[in-house]
Amino acid sequence: MTTSRWVTFTVGVLALALVSAGCSNDSSTGGASGGGAVDCASVQFGCVEVAADAPINLGTLLATSGDNADLGTDSLNGVKLAIDHLDGTFDQTDGQVLGHDVKLTNEDDLCSADGGQAGGQALAADDSIVAVIGTSCSSAALGVADTILSQKGVLLFSPSNTNPALTAEGTHQPFYARTAHNDRIQGAIVAEFAAGDMVGAKTAATIADESPYTQGLTAAFEANWENAGGTVTDSEQINSEDTDFKPVLQTIAATNPDVLYFPVFVSACSLIIKQAKDIMPDTTKIVSDGCLSSDTLKNTGDSVDGVYASSPDLSAFQSNTAYADEFIPAYKDAFGTAPLSVFHAHAYDAANVIFQAIQQVAIDNGDGTLSIPRQALRDAVFATSGYDGLTGTITCTPLGDCATDVTIGVFKAPGWPVEGGSGNQKAVFTDTKSLEDVL
């Protein structure tokens, strides 16, 4: 017995040594010769086999139709630009990873749990999918796409999910990560803005709908708001499909809040902006990135003037020369429009982190074919540390939050930083917090 344990221990040490040798070998060549320690037949979740001259298949699960089409299309554009830039320039000629083209398989998350379920299953059923960029909406990921894809061992990397539960202990799925911020940070910064000099509010009311995104945000806002000594006069919930929000707005107006925070999606958000203009013209209105899109500006006309919207601060990127001087012109060249929404840079970074991880873990079989072990790919993405992306420095936590220091800006309509915005499109308030700073 003692001998056999001793043997096991020795073998274990040797195996570790081999793996670490493989890693150092990998980084020294910077290529695909490493990872020789992985045996695709025995490793959990197996490998994705890429045939010679076949493209690497990257899935996307983004909201590209309906009311939230701006959100998903914008992210998809970011992914396309990342593929374009694989050859080092934005020239509308796609680059390659390890000598293979990158092909996109697009599914629509419909910004709903149903869409996440259907799209997640379609992608999980396709064995050639290496990883998935998505979802656009937290509702499509939480308990749906994140679970389906994690069971299959497919990495789901979101550019725009912000619900706290997705990366919370207990609800986080092992193959889920995101480059978008956690709404615990956004809620805290909105609360700080509303209490600050510019608004100077003491009382606030909130409206959420049935989606986890809006509930996560209003909960984070309320916790930080009350912690800072503010009063929440009313927190209401609506059905996002509804049209007539006048009764709920009258109920809120009866409690007379200084601030109304309603981080709901485009359709309900536009309706509330227009109906609240009649009912409570003097209340400061704040929305968040789910509503910050060019469709909202088109729908609401001048009713939106003066409405604040919080989102990751793009002006912080704009001092970043790569974003302002190369990325944005390339976006306009390729798609003929200014960015439609705010998560294109997050999608661009997510795609690049995945490409980098593929380069680290893919096994070059010598005949032009590649084997990409799923577990190792996931581990390589989660091990990302100090990666210099467009959205800042990307370091992933064990729970999948890859944006740990987040700069949130607040923009005043019509100066929203999207297509259709006008005037000064700079943030009127901006702050940076990390996950440890907030409740």
Binding site: S65, G66, D67, A69, E210, S235, E236, Q237, I238, N239, E241, D242, T243, D244, K246, P247, V248, Q250, T251, A254, T255, N256, S267, S270, L271, K274, Q275, K277, D278, I279, P281, D295, K298, N299, T300, G301, S303
Partner: protein, 369 residues
């Protein structure tokens, strides 16, 4: 004979059972249910009005909620009238009527939007709104007549389920045509600037647009009432609704009368489309479907087939969904009651149908639909 002689032996038990059976159980249950409903409602209202939240709820607040409800209810009523009149005359549910409403609203959007951009909507509001309404009415009437001619007339003598399915098919077809032509996104419908903001009436601040909607809707309903009761065409509509064959024997052109009924429904739906657009400032290919379901509910609540019923049902649903949840449910400590608006309305509908299967102003008989 032996059977007849044997009968008294078992008849004791039979008589006991039948006394039990003869008790008016249905009525007893209804009375008990009514007592429970009244009790719950009273307790709910009492608790709401004595709760700490009630300090915020002034008389003005309740008045504002009621006006909001009436204004939404007015739009529902106008669409519900279309459902109800067609049902009255053909005994079929025109499920595509929501689409008639949406088509008018959508078409008029393009005119309203152009007038808003050129400034005409604000400089000559009355003329602009009249033109926009005319466009909406023409398109709605066109769609309604087309539906009648293409989808329903060939099926007039088919079993009742057939035109119902056709109606659902037509509804999906029209919706998806609009989606195909104009995309899935919603369009921001402009509103004349003179209708923005609030105006005090008897000390209550009321949205100007709500007043405008109520005035237009009430005028339309009065005109409809006069049309149906005073004109020759109105009389022939009532005759066809009463008995199609006899009416035809009396020299009434039934096809023409049915077409006119669809057209009148289309006129009301078209005007409602503009009112809806200007109230909610948004129109989308699904607008007709969701509102159509609410309007159909209103028609059933009021008593489908009855003009007064559809009007009453629409206003009632509007007010109930605005006022009911806050007034009754808040007292029981239920959070965010407004998300229960729809659930509350359907609860009321179910309860009304338990007591009056034919709807409030209906015949009192259950109609199989």
């Amino acid at each position: 004979m032996t059977i007849a002689e044997g009968a008294p032996a078992t008849s004791v038990a039979d008589v006991r059972l039948s006394t039990f059976e003869r008790l008016p159980w249905r009525r007893i249950i209804l009375v008990l249910l009514a007592i429970v409903i009244v009790a719950v409602t009273t307790i709910g209202i009492y608790k709401t009005l004595t709760s700490p939240e009630a300090a915020n709820y002034s008389g003005e607040f309740w008045a504002q909620l009621t006006v909001d409800g009436l204004s939404y209810g007015a739009i529902l009523s106008m669409v519900a009238l279309g459902y109800s009149m067609v049902y009255g005359i053909l005994r079929m549910i025109n499920f595509a009527h929501g689409e008639v409403f949406m088509a008018g609203g959508f078409a008029s959007f393009f005119f309203a939007n152009a007038y808003a951009k050129s400034g005409f909507l604000n400089s000559n509001t009355v003329v602009a709104v009249l033109i926009v309404m005319t466009v909406s009415v023409l398109v709605s009437v066109g769609v309604a007549l087309l539906l009648e001619r293409v989808c329903y007339r060939p099926l007039r003598n088919a079993p009742r389920l057939v035109p119902l399915i056709t109606a659902i098919g037509a509804s999906l077809f029209i919706q998806n045509s609009f989606r195909g032509f104009f995309g899935p996104q919603s369009y921001g419908y402009p509103r004349p600037s003179s209708l923005n903001g609030q105006v005090p009436i008897l000390g209550v601040h009321v949205n100007k647009i709500d007043i405008a909607v109520l005035v237009v809707a009430v005028v339309c309903m009065l005109v409809l009432q006069m049309f149906v009761s005073r004109t020759k065409t109105g009389r022939s509509m009532r005759a066809v609704a009463e008995d199609r064959e006899i009416a035809s024997l009396m020299g009434i052109d039934v096809d023409r009368t049915i077409a006119i009924t669809f057209a009148v429904g289309g006129v009301l739906a078209g005007i409602a489309g503009v009112l809806f657009g200007m109230t909610f400032q948004q129109i989308q290919f699904t607008s007709g479907f969701t509102l159509g379901i609410a309007a159909f509910t209103a028609a059933v609540l009021g008593g489908i087939g009855s003009i007064g019923g559809a009007t009453l049902g629409g206003f009632l649903i509007g007010v109930l969904r605005a006022v009911g949840p806050v007034l009754i449910l808040t007292g029981f400590g239920i959070p965010s009651v407004h998300s229960l608006n729809e659930a509350f309305v359907f609860l009321v509908l179910v309860l009304v149908l338990v007591f009056r299967p034919g709807g409030l102003l209906g015949t009192g008989e259950a109609e199989k639909v």
